[in-house]
């Protein structure tokens, strides 16, 4: 698989490690009433789709940036690559 890094251009997926579903960006509020339940769901439950899947990849052997890669799990085709920072900011995760 080739991951088209937004800053560095096309890179071999071997340079990266994958963390998993990009929903891991949406860390629950620890002060919520049901935060224990929310954290359980956040940490352990997955949509696990057959088809388009947004996931977090870390460029460990490169510039050590976190990326959100949209990939088709049926074909391994990489559809879209974004900086995780941009995605998180857009979701209001940044300060």
């Amino acid at each position: 698989m080739i991951i088209d890094h937004p800053l560095l251009g096309p890179r071999d997926a071997q340079e990266f490690v994958i963390l998993g579903d990009a929903s891991l960006i949406d860390r629950p509020d620890w002060q919520a009433e049901d935060s224990a339940q929310q954290f359980h769901d956040y940490q352990h439950l997955r949509d696990n789709p057959a088809g388009e899947h947004r996931e977090l990849w870390f460029h460990e052997q490169g510039d050590r940036s976190w990326l959100v890669v949209t990939r088709n799990t049926l074909t391994h085709e990489v559809l879209k690559v974004e900086l995780a920072r941009d995605v998180a900011m857009a979701r209001g995760r940044g300060r």
Binding site: A13, L19, G20, D21, H44, L45, N48, R71
Partner: protein, 416 residues
């Protein structure tokens, strides 16, 4: 028809005209007591034990392809019960005992070959861990012996004992481990279930569940609805997809695991050998091909094929363990869809929907578990209570802080 030597002689003398199809191909009824979704090893075993142990024969197995077309036909055929944790080891030892009596039980030659499995160790710390594991196995009624380097040199002299970085110090051997003809397991269970009245329905994909007021009343398929009091899902790599029809999210990700077979060689590998300093395991099939594999690729996949970096990694492990393997040519490579759970251990449980049961999360180790998985799943479906050796395999174990993390690496699928 019961298979026996007499039967073979009789058929041989009469032109082999008396053999019958091994199972029927019935049209499904409108309604069953139990519907098993998934006609792989675990599904067929479940149907078989529902019929034989619990007397439930109003059962249908629905399979979207042909029987045994999933992981039961795509694995590396190893059986073993060399687990450590109390939530796992008694279950896998039950499986081992069922393997040992399986062929006589279902009257089919599954070529159960207990030629031993050896997990190598390379350091003092690994030796201690192996001794502890062997003790845990013995406590659960299994067998485990520590082999020193001299004993190993007699069994497999071609290993790289004096490797600069990871010299081989010894191994943990389970003599009762070994290999089984994987397709024959599916066929044997299918035939056994069919003979007791279970309907095996092929080319019938489940596309939804008939759930009203939190109770499951049956399944929707690509060719109509079928009613059932109890619906038991065991679809391995497709777990996320199928349970999604019921609106349930699982602690499971689907990944790809690759396996490799070389050309046929003279007998060299007596049992199963696993490398202790990397992820690589090898056995030799009855046809002579070396069957080997290693880690999962590590990313979510439904493609049933992997990529080259993992192939390279596995082959590097092989070369470090037994350099002689470099002379063998790989003939076949394939990938299986594995249902990786968060802690590397499986689930056999009820769900929040009444009448809907779930069996999955077998990771890369579902084949060895086939008999016990079917046995315990059938017990749960028939009695409503988990089997005593499967009480820890619950879907809510992460909420309770009761993960079964056999490798002790944390709750993330691609670490296992």
């Amino acid at each position: 028809m019961r298979y026996s030597v007499l039967q073979i002689l009789k058929e041989g003398l009469t032109g082999n005209r008396g053999w019958k199809p091994v199972w029927r191909e019935p049209e499904p009824k409108k309604r069953y007591d139990v519907i098993v979704v998934g006609g792989g090893g675990h599904g067929l075993a479940t149907a078989y034990y529902l019929a034989t142990v619990h007397g439930l024969t109003d059962v249908a197995v629905l399979e979207k392809g042909w029987l045994g077309s999933g992981n039961v036909g795509r694995n590396t055929t190893i059986v073993r019960s060399n687990y450590l944790l109390p939530g796992n080891e008694p279950f896998y030892e039950l499986s081992m005992k069922l393997w040992e009596g399986l062929e006589q039980d279902f009257n089919y030659n599954a070529m159960v070959s207990q030629r031993g499995i050896i997990n190598l160790y390379h350091s003092d710390a690994q030796r201690d861990a192996a001794a502890r594991r062997a003790n845990a196995m013995i406590l659960a009624g299994a067998d485990g012996v520590l082999l020193d380097r001299e004993a190993l040199e007699r069994i497999c002299p071609y290993l790289d004992f004096d490797n600069e970085r990871f010299p081989i110090a010894g191994g943990l051997c389970q003599p009762r481990g070994g290999t089984v003809r994987h397709d024959a397991v599916a066929w044997g269970y299918a035939r056994g279930a069919d003979r007791r009245g279970v309907d095996l329905i092929q080319n019938r994909e489940v596309t939804g569940f008939d759930i009203r007021n939190g109770v499951c009343h049956g399944v929707e398929t690509n060719r109509g609805t079928i009613g059932a009091d109890r619906v038991a899902v065991c679809v391995a790599g497709s777990s996320g997809k199928v349970m999604g029809y019921a609106g349930l999210r699982l602690p499971i990700e689907s990944h790809v695991l690759q396996a490799f077979v070389t050309e046929g060689l003279k007998p060299a590998v007596p049992g199963v050998i696993t490398y202790g300093a990397g992820h690589f395991y090898v056995s030799q099939s009855d046809k002579g091909g070396l069957v080997f594999g290693g880690d999962i690729d590590g990313y979510n996949s439904y493609a049933q094929r992997g990529n080259l970096p993992t192939l390279e990694d596995v082959c590097e492990g092989g070369m470090a363990l037994m350099p002689t393997i470099g002379r063998a040519r790989v003939l076949r490579i394939w990938g299986g869809l594995v249902d990786m759970s968060m802690d590397g251990s499986p689930f056999i449980d009820r769900t929040s929907v009444d009448g809907l049961f779930f069996n999955g999360g077998w990771n890369y180790g579902g084949f060895k578990a086939t008999p016990a998985s079917g046995y315990c799943y059938a017990h749960l479906i028939a009695t409503g209570e988990p089997h005593p050796v499967a009480t820890e395999m619950r879907l809510d174990r992460f909420e309770r802080g009761a993960a079964i993390d056999e490798k002790g690496v944390g709750a993330q699928p691609n670490l296992h």
